[in-house]
């Protein structure tokens, strides 16, 4: 099943539950199993949280687009916050004590662990587009 669904929300932490519900519904409709859906939900939650807390730090909009591309689920989290590329962020080694990735570091670590690819794009008009990609089982 293919198709593209998108929606936008105010950049507010109280929207997280609604955002997760939207992504969960899309992921399941697009063929993700329970395990894949959970991983995507956790990753999207961290991406949105980082955008709200560390990107905007105030009012703004979060746009989410979910689509299936062959055997992959793509979730794009877009905002108009100052550019920040999480894919260039230092990798955390959770087995080493006191690794400090600073603000948002935990979320980025989780996104990396929970997805198969993360693709970052800085649109010319500004803002950020982070696509979280999960390979789906047949």
């Amino acid at each position: 099943m293919t198709g593209k669904r998108s929606q936008q929300w105010q950049a507010d932490l109280t929207m997280l539950s609604e955002i997760r519900s939207f992504v969960e519904g899309c992921a399941k409709t697009l063929g993700a199993n329970d395990h894949e859906t959970l991983d995507v939900l956790l990753a999207v939650n961290e991406a949105v949280t980082n955008s709200i807390l560390h990107g905007y730090g105030g009012a703004g909009l979060i746009r989410i687009e979910v689509r299936r591309d062959a055997g992959q689920l793509h979730v794009c989290v877009a905002d108009d916050a100052p550019p920040f590329d999480p894919t260039s962020h230092t990798t955390v080694d959770v087995n080493r004590p006191l690794d400090d990735c600073g603000k948002g570091g935990m979320g980025i670590h989780m996104m990396r662990e929970l997805t198969d690819e993360m693709v970052y794009h800085a649109p010319e008009a500004g803002g950020n587009e982070l696509t979280l990609i999960k390979f789906l089982e047949d």
Partner: protein, 136 residues
Amino acid sequence: MEILSSQASGHVPVTIITLKGALDGSNYESLIAAGRSAHAAGAKAILLDLSELTFMSSAGLVALHNLYAILKDETEPDPEAGWATLKTVGNAGQAGGQPFVKLLNPQPAVKRTLEITGMYTFFEVHTDRETALQSF
């Protein structure tokens, strides 16, 4: 998320904090506040009943760590400080056996967060309430 507190006795008095719903960046401070209240009322041990917690983000991990620090009478870590705040639990090299905060019955979604962040081993996890209470 709904937070319920109750008292029980094992070898020592234990405060049971039951979480229902989803724990994320919008509400993790409520859990920290519940921990502060319990501590102010004399709690020395907290069993977090996660049987009905359906989701936990990294913000939830921050809350767990704050509960640990509160009961250990440490300075509460800055929730915004990121990864380092959590790693202090692991750095203590004792958290798996620490007597302050233990977890009861985490569901798969919550377990996933604990596991991929390396935090699962830092909290003693139980699946039986009585066993958990007696472990304090």
